[in-house]
Each structure stands twice: as structure tokens, then as C-alpha cells.
């Protein structure tokens, strides 16, 4: 137990460093472009941390997080525009609604496993996309979608600064909650389920309920991220929440590392920055991006983050 506590302490030190890192970057980045890339990375990292909890720790694959991301964005927008709820409270709505739906859906869907679970969640994302494009009285469809979300210029700071910090704070809180959950009874139950559901249920874990809660948490995280995404752009439409988004979120987790929440944060940053680095390839961008993914999955199947981390350790040991 002592080692677990010390690892928890180490993780919280890292969390502190994350805050410092964001602050340093906020000052260091003079360009709104890089600042907005950072903001988007932080936003996607929230969803990725949730997905890591579900995939890395509970062992349940989901290619449907984009649906909850979109659901969060729409419910926050609805809360603000139709119900007159302030944006900060809107974030809570954006966590609760997807979390609730996630819990409802999780019970039947998580009876599946492996490829079938992946496909079922993929189907979920596809169905959500169709509903988002068609239910235009609520979502605005593809055109115009949701427009006219308020600028968040609190404390005399500009919208982009406020969203950056809002995303940063949400990421830190969500990561802290994830770390505490992993470290506690719930985390042990998740890992027991990942190892063997039969063994887990024999040791008194309510497998179905635990999995459903993990799914609901991942959905809530995705929802918060979706709401922040909507706040950030102030206008969005259904095309942002197609199946590609779900796959991108999955990539973030896998490219980072499945075994730690830090991998998810790293992965979100990597996936957001990578396309910008490929700008020079112009028309070959998609080809190069695909090949880069292939190379990562071939050479670093445990995630780029984890592999880089190992390289660093090995060099340090060699020194």
C-alpha cells in the first residue's frame, strides 16, 4: 500500500508540473495559433483520459467516444442558449447528460467484448452522427448547426485565454479524479475485470456495474471535452462529430500509451500537433499521416509515449 501511495504522490507532483507547464506555455506562446493548438490538445486530452480509464484500465474498447463528445457539446449549447444556464454550469450539464446516457447504454453494450464491442461502439458513433445531422430543430443539422455561443471573456481576459485555462483546469481536475479512482478500490476492481471477469466476480466485484460506471465516466469526460470544444469555437455543426472523431480519440489513447493517464495527454498533444507538422506535404498530407500512424503502430505498439519514455529510461540507466 505504501508504494501505491508514493506513486499517487508522484502522480500529483506531475499534475502540479502540468499546471506549471500550461502556465509557462500560456506566457511563452505568443501566437494565438499555437495557443489554440494547445487549447485543443488540452480539450481532447480530457476525452482521452476518460477513454484510457475505460480501455487501459477496464480493458473495454470504445470507438464511439465521439458520440458522447458531440452529446456534451450539444447539451452544453442547449443549456446555454435555450435554458439560459451560465457556461460554467453548462459544463456540468455536459458531463451529466453523456454520463447518464453512457450508463444506460453501457449495461447492454458491455456484455460484448473484443471486436464486437469495438463494432457496437462504432455503430453508436455512426447512429449519433446521423441523428445530429437530421434532428435540426435541436442540433441545427449541418447547416447552420449551433452558432452564436457567447464569448467567455471573464476577468478582462480574452476568450482564447479563458478557454485555455478552463480546459487546463478541467483537464487537471479530471486527471486528478482519474488518478484517485485508479488508486482506490474502484481502480482495483477495474484491473481485476481487465485480467479476468470471472475472477473479478468471484472476488465480489459487481462486474456489470463497475464496467458501466467506467463507461459512464469516460462518456462524461468526453462530454466535458465536447462542451469546451463548442465553447472554444463558439459555432460548430454535426460534421465535427463524425466517425472520424471517435477514431481520432482512440488514436490519441493508443499513440500515447494505454497504461497511464499521462499517455492519453501525450497522445492528444501528438495527434493535434502532427497534422500541423505535415502542412508542407500539401496534397500528400493524408498519405503521410496514414503512413505515420502505420509506423507508430508497427514500431511502438504500446504507444509512442510509452516507447519514448522507455528510451529515455534506458539511456539514463546506461549513463
Amino acid at each position: 500500500m505504501k508504494s501505491a501511495n508514493s506513486s499517487l504522490r508522484r502522480n500529483f507532483i506531475r499534475l502540479g508540473l502540468l499546471v506549471v507547464g500550461i502556465a509557462v506555455l500560456d506566457v511563452a506562446l505568443t501566437s494565438q495559433f499555437y495557443r489554440s493548438t494547445l487549447t485543443l490538445s488540452l480539450i481532447f486530452a480530457i476525452a482521452a483520459v476518460g477513454l484510457t480509464l475505460l480501455m487501459g484500465f477496464a480493458g473495454q474498447v470504445s470507438i464511439g467516444q465521439g458520440a458522447f463528445f458531440g452529446l456534451g457539446a450539444y447539451s452544453a449549447a442547449f443549456a446555454i442558449q435555450q435554458l439560459g444556464i451560465p457556461p460554467l454550469v453548462g459544463l456540468v450539464v455536459a458531463a451529466v447528460v453523456p454520463g447518464f446516457f453512457g450508463y444506460l447504454i453501457a449495461r447492454p453494450i458491455l456484455r460484448l467484448s473484443g471486436n464486437n464491442l469495438a463494432l457496437a461502439t462504432l455503430a453508436l458513433a455512426a447512429v449519433f452522427y446521423v441523428v445530429a445531422t437530421q434532428w435540426s430543430s435541436v442540433t441545427g443539422g449541418i447547416d447552420p448547426g449551433i452558432t452564436g455561443l457567447p464569448a467567455l471573456d471573464y476577468f478582462g481576459l480574452s476568450h482564447i485565454h479563458v478557454v485555455l485555462w478552463l480546459a487546463g483546469i478541467c483537464l487537471v481536475i479530471c486527471t486528478a479524479v482519474a488518478l484517485l479512482l485508479i488508486d482506490g478500490r474502484f481502480g482495483r476492481a477495474l484491473m481485476a475485470i481487465k485480467t479476468s471477469e470471472v475472477v473479478a466476480s468471484c472476488t465480489g466485484v459487481d462486474v456489470a456495474r463497475t464496467k458501466a460506471i467506467a463507461f459512464a465516466i469516460a462518456a462524461a469526460y468526453a462530454g466535458i471535452a465536447g462542451a469546451l470544444f463548442g465553447y472554444f469555437l463558439r459555432a460548430f455543426n454535426a460534421t465535427s462529430f463524425n466517425v472520424g472523431l471517435s477514431i481520432e480519440l482512440l488514436m490519441m489513447v493508443i499513440v500515447g500509451s494505454l497504461s497511464t493517464v499521462w499517455g492519453a495527454i501525450f497522445g492528444a498533444l501528438a495527434i493535434m500537433v502532427l497534422p500541423n507538422l505535415l502542412e508542407g506535404f500539401d496534397h500528400a498530407k493524408l498519405l503521410v499521416y496514414g503512413l505515420a500512424m502505420v509506423a507508430i503502430m508497427m514500431l511502438a505498439p504500446n504507444g509512442l509515449g510509452e516507447t519514448l519514455a522507455k528510451l529515455v529510461t534506458r539511456r539514463r540507466v546506461a549513463e
Partner: protein, 291 residues
């Protein structure tokens, strides 16, 4: 009644294409237990390849179809030999991501080589359009249906009458035991990829005259093919065909009687329902459990 019949026929033709996409998934899954997310891109490649050869380069149609099949089959083998074979991890998830990455790369390459425009290819011709009162079947539809029948028979023959087909099945069920019998599992997998990709190329080429070739078509065809393969029972070729036809028909009927906007969701709702209530698929038998 006529319009019901017409919807049914339209749905069947659409279903034939989905079925061919689904067959590709099933063949690859049968030989290597990999869910190949790049499968839809094979169809895309067949379409834009045919368009490139026939419309841009002006070669005859029959040659274009052969080239489209040969090129996609080559891409399929390349994918297996260069990427999947050399993956460091055989973990299901990283292999799936590998196929997703390959799919992106194929899409990018397709756009780069064949351009980004929407291109129609001339009908294959030969058959007249069938007209029965208000109900009709377009000539290309006859091509598609006949091809599916031919492909179905060929695949049935391959997998249940030839030793090589059985070796492919064996290699996926028990790769080690197959290797110990002198079967090279990698060869079996490469052959499966060649067949699946070639089939995708053929389906894409058949589709190009009626829906146009476009480098982004692969995603949507892949997803529908997927839904069909899983609904019919992953790994069961007959199931892939039945799954494809069911999804095609239900889509056409829901477009005809409910709403064309929500139609695209239908395939995935079927997929969800099948997964929840019959995870082995509509035609999937109870698999033989090892003792």
C-alpha cells in the same frame, strides 16, 4: 405495390455491393482474425482506379476492370506483407489501428494518384435495361447481381472444395498447428488479403458507373460492409451476403417509406440490434468450443 417492388430491387442491388464489401471483411477475418478497417478503401481504389484507367487514360473498359482488380489485390498483399506481417505486437487493438492507418494512407495515395474529382465511368453495357411496367432494373444492376452470384460460387468452391481454401481456414483457427502441417500462415493471410482486396476492387469498379468514383467513398462503403459482415455473422461468407442484402433492402425501404435522411442510420441500428441480441450474427452458428 410497384414502388415496393422497385424499392426492393434497388435495395437488393445496393445490398449486393455491401455484400461484396462484407465478403472482403469475412475472408480476411477468416484467414487472420483481423478486422480490416482498410477494406472499404479497396472498393474506393477499384472505383477511382477504373475511372483513371478508362476515363483519364482512355483504355478499354475490360482492361480497366482487370487492372483495377489486379492493382487493389496487389495493394492488399502489400498491406499484409509489409505492414501486418511485421507488426511487433499481435495485439488485436494495435492491429486494428494499423489497418486504420493503412486505410488513411490508401485514401491519401488514391487522392494523390487519381485526383480528387468525382468521376462517372460508362456503364458496362451488354445487358439491356429490364422494364416490367413501372419496375425496372438498370443494366449495371444486372452486372452487379450476376457478379455477386459468380463471386459467391467461386468463394464457396474455394473454401469448401479446395485444399488451399481449407488450409486458409485452418491457418486462422490454429495458426501454429497449421504451420506444423506445412501450411505457411503468412502465405494464407497474404492470399486472403489478395482475394479480399481484389474483390473490393471488383466491387468498386462495378459501382463506379452508378455512384461515381471518389477518393472519399471508402469510408462509407467500409462501414456499411462492416455492418453487413457482422450482422450476417463475422467469418461466414453466406452471412456476409445475407447481411449485405438485408441492410441494402432495409435501407431502401426506409428511404422509401420513412425518411431518406435517417436511412444511413438504419444499417448501424441493425448492427447494434444484432450485436446485442445475436452476437454471433444472423447466420453465425454456435462456434465449436475447444475442449
Amino acid at each position: 405495390m410497384d414502388s415496393f417492388l422497385q424499392n426492393l430491387i434497388s435495395g437488393c442491388l445496393l445490398g449486393c455491393i455491401y455484400a461484396m464489401a462484407a465478403l472482403g471483411f469475412t475472408i480476411v477475418f477468416n484467414a487472420s482474425r483481423i478486422v480490416n478497417f482498410a477494406n472499404g478503401e479497396f472498393l474506393m481504389l477499384g472505383g477511382v482506379g477504373l475511372a483513371g484507367v478508362v476515363v483519364t487514360a482512355g483504355l478499354p473498359l475490360w482492361l480497366g476492370v482487370i487492372l483495377a482488380i489486379a492493382c487493389t489485390a496487389f495493394v492488399g498483399v502489400l498491406m499484409q506483407v509489409a505492414f501486418l506481417n511485421n507488426a511487433r505486437s499481435a495485439d488485436e487493438l494495435s492491429l486494428v489501428m494499423l489497418t486504420i492507418g493503412t486505410g488513411l494512407a490508401i485514401r491519401g495515395a488514391g487522392a494523390l494518384i487519381f485526383g480528387r474529382s468525382v468521376t462517372f465511368v460508362p456503364d458496362f453495357g451488354l445487358f439491356p435495361m429490364l422494364l416490367m411496367g413501372d419496375v425496372y432494373i438498370v443494366s449495371q444492376g444486372i452486372w452487379i447481381a450476376l457478379t455477386l452470384v459468380a463471386v459467391g460460387i467461386a468463394l464457396w468452391y474455394l473454401f469448401s472444395r479446395t485444399t488451399f481454401g481449407k488450409a486458409m481456414k485452418a491457418a486462422s483457427q490454429e495458426p501454429r498447428a497449421a504451420a506444423l502441417c506445412g501450411i505457411e500462415p503468412r502465405q494464407a493471410a497474404a492470399a486472403a488479403f489478395a482475394i479480399a482486396a481484389g474483390l473490393g476492387g471488383l466491387a468498386g469498379a462495378l459501382l463506379a458507373p452508378i455512384s461515381a468514383a471518389f477518393y472519399e467513398n471508402g469510408v462509407f462503403l467500409g462501414l456499411k460492409g462492416f455492418a453487413a459482415a457482422v450482422a450476417g455473422g463475422m467469418g461466414n461468407p453466406l452471412g456476409a451476403v445475407v447481411g449485405g442484402l438485408i441492410i441494402g433492402v432495409v435501407e431502401a425501404l426506409s428511404a422509401g417509406y420513412v425518411s431518406s435522411g435517417y436511412k444511413d442510420g438504419v444499417a448501424f441500428i441493425i448492427l447494434l440490434l444484432v450485436l446485442l441480441f445475436r452476437p454471433q450474427g444472423l447466420l453465425g452458428g454456435v462456434s465449436v468450443k475447444r475442449v
